[in-house]
């Protein structure tokens, strides 16, 4: 069931909480406690904006166990505006073609389901194309 495992990551999965290095200002997501830029301890939390752009993308037709119901789905590398890259599914695409450079924003969606209707459902971040602003 791995309940505690997913619970521990709730701030990352639901709110993109990473870290900022107090020594060199590097922004880190996922949090890693030792800054890869300067090698010093980095434990100051930092809230990422959730905005970024597509760095690369592909489609998964043969999903791993637990991901069958969404297949085929688009998975991407997203370059966040603060610098780090994250791996995430793209969602809410409609008929819109994805391209490298497409601006995207974070949303919370269902990631996977374990087993039958009684199985645990894991939620987390996905990214969708930035919605056009509706003018009043």
């Amino acid at each position: 069931m791995e309940i505690s495992r997913h619970w521990r990551l709730r701030k990352q999965r639901y709110a993109l909480v990473g870290e900022v290095c107090p020594h060199c200002e590097a922004k880190l997501f996922p949090p890693r406690d030792i800054c890869p830029e300067c090698g010093q301890e980095a434990r100051t939390t930092y809230n990422f904006s959730g905005r970024g752009e597509v760095y690369s993308y592909t489609t998964v037709y043969e999903p791993p166990a637990g991901y069958e119901e969404n297949a085929p789905y688009t998975v991407a590398l997203i370059k966040l505006e603060e610098g780090p890259i994250v791996t995430a599914q793209l969602t809410d695409l409609g008929d819109q073609p994805v391209e490298i450079g497409t601006p995207v924003e974070m949303v919370t969606r269902r990631l996977r389901q374990d087993g039958d209707e009684r199985g645990m459902i894991v939620y987390g971040y996905k990214f969708r194309p930035v919605l056009a602003r509706v003018s009043a």
């Binding site: 037709y61 791993p64 590398l77 490298i100």
Partner: protein, 392 residues
């Protein structure tokens, strides 16, 4: 002072779907073949390269399993796991055991059994080689990850999509003459062009097939070889391993296979050679994009230019059997097949056969030095060995 380590014996099973053979039976076949090839040397230590047995065969503890099944109870034995580079890492463990003087004879045995489980469970097992919390949870598979790299490569370097055909064409042509290869049929550019998409832009021929197999290498010191040793002697001139971030997204430049580069630099430094002094390069062509990135990481091509080494022009392609730097000489991952944690040992077996002059129809003329490189995922781990024929 480190002792000189020589390859006393090699053994392998065909790479295929071995429905009739278990993990331990495959392991024993390769182990026995290597012992016989050496003239009967008995290993004092066994290092098993394997990644998937705990997940796909519900079997961990392969050291005791295989030592026991081989009638070698009592010896030292353990699994070495480093994802897809488990075979290379097991070879390095065996090398260090002999080089250090800790044992006289060590065996590196790679074994993998995929075919007892099919479909989504295999894909879930494969995904455990990456970052479970931040990659696999998003439904990312190793194949999708290779596709992400290939798309970015095509975009950044403005490379034509068909450019990658060269790698599977060469691998399949070379696999024809390998009796242990999974695919022994050459393919054409047209076949490549029309192949179905696996994970865009990767097509079926950009992805090496996973299959069962076992391979073994027996290492010792030259002075311990049985009298009348019948093979040209091959030594391990250097062994090195390097790591990168586990997750691809944690790298400042995902198209730079840094661990691959570091492991080549370290191996060449130890052997006091440059990569240009290598006569063949068994690289990790689990995906055609990885072949290109490995050639670039090793310094054989500039960034974004690795694919050009697989293009035929007035001369045959540089990395073809008749080129200056042959790769995948007995089919590589693509045609021989990708037996997961055993693949790194297959590379060592195939390179040894070439250096001994025992490679059959695909024997290269005048080869003295081979580089073999085994990667895990997008080079999150990289193991490089230099093998050298000793003349005389």
């Amino acid at each position: 002072m480190m002792s000189e380590v020589v390859i006393a014996g090699v053994g392998q099973t065909p790479v295929e779907e071995h429905w009739d053979k278990s993990l331990r039976e495959l392991g024993l076949m390769a182990l026995k073949a290597a012992v016989m090839d050496s003239g009967g040397l008995r290993p004092q230590a066994l290092f098993v390269g394997n990644m998937f047995a705990p997940q796909l065969s519900r079997q961990a503890h392969l050291g005791a399993l295989i030592a026991d099944f081989a009638g070698l109870t009592g010896i030292e034995a353990a699994t070495i796991e480093a994802g897809g580079a488990s075979g290379g890492a097991a070879l390095r463990a065996a090398y260090l055991a002999v080089a250090s003087g800790a044992v006289d004879v060590a065996m590196a045995l790679g074994v993998e059994k995929f075919s007892d489980v099919i479909g989504a469970k295999v894909d879930a097992a494969l995904a455990t080689g990456g970052d479970s919390d931040y990659e696999a949870v998003q439904g990312l598979t190793p194949t999708a990850q290779a596709a992400l790299l290939m798309r970015r490569y095509l975009y950044e370097y403005e490379v034509p999509r068909q450019a990658f055909a060269g790698f599977p064409l060469i691998a399949h042509a070379n696999g024809v003459n390998n009796p242990n290869a999974m695919f022994r049929k050459a393919i054409s550019e047209e076949v490549y062009r029309q192949a179905g998409v696996v994970s865009d832009p990767l097509n079926l021929f950009d992805v090496a097939p996973l299959a069962d197999g076992a391979a073994a290498v027996l290492l010792t010191r030259a002075d311990l070889l049985p009298p009348g040793f019948p093979h040209r002697l091959v030594r391990i001139a250097a062994s090195s391993m390097a790591t990168d971030t586990l997750a691809l997204h944690d790298r400042p430049d995902p198209l730079d296979f840094r661990a691959a580069r570091l492991s080549v630099e370290r191996a060449c430094e130890k052997a006091r050679i440059t990569p240009a002094q290598v006569d063949l390069f068994e690289l990790h062509d689990a995906y055609s994009i990885y072949a290109a990135l490995s050639l670039e990481a090793a310094g054989y091509a500039e960034r974004g230019q690795g694919w050009k080494l697989a293009q035929n022009g007035a001369e045959p392609a540089v990395v073809s059997l008749r080129g200056r730097l042959p790769i995948s000489v007995l089919g590589g991952f693509k045609a021989r097949g990708n037996p997961g944690g055993a693949a790194g040992i297959y590379q060592a077996v195939e390179a040894t056969l070439q250096l001994r002059g025992e490679a059959g129809e695909n024997q290269l003329p005048n080869v003295r030095r081979a580089m073999i490189q085994n990667l895990a995922g997008p080079a999150s781990s990289a193991v490089t060995h230099l093998l050298e024929a000793l003349d005389g």
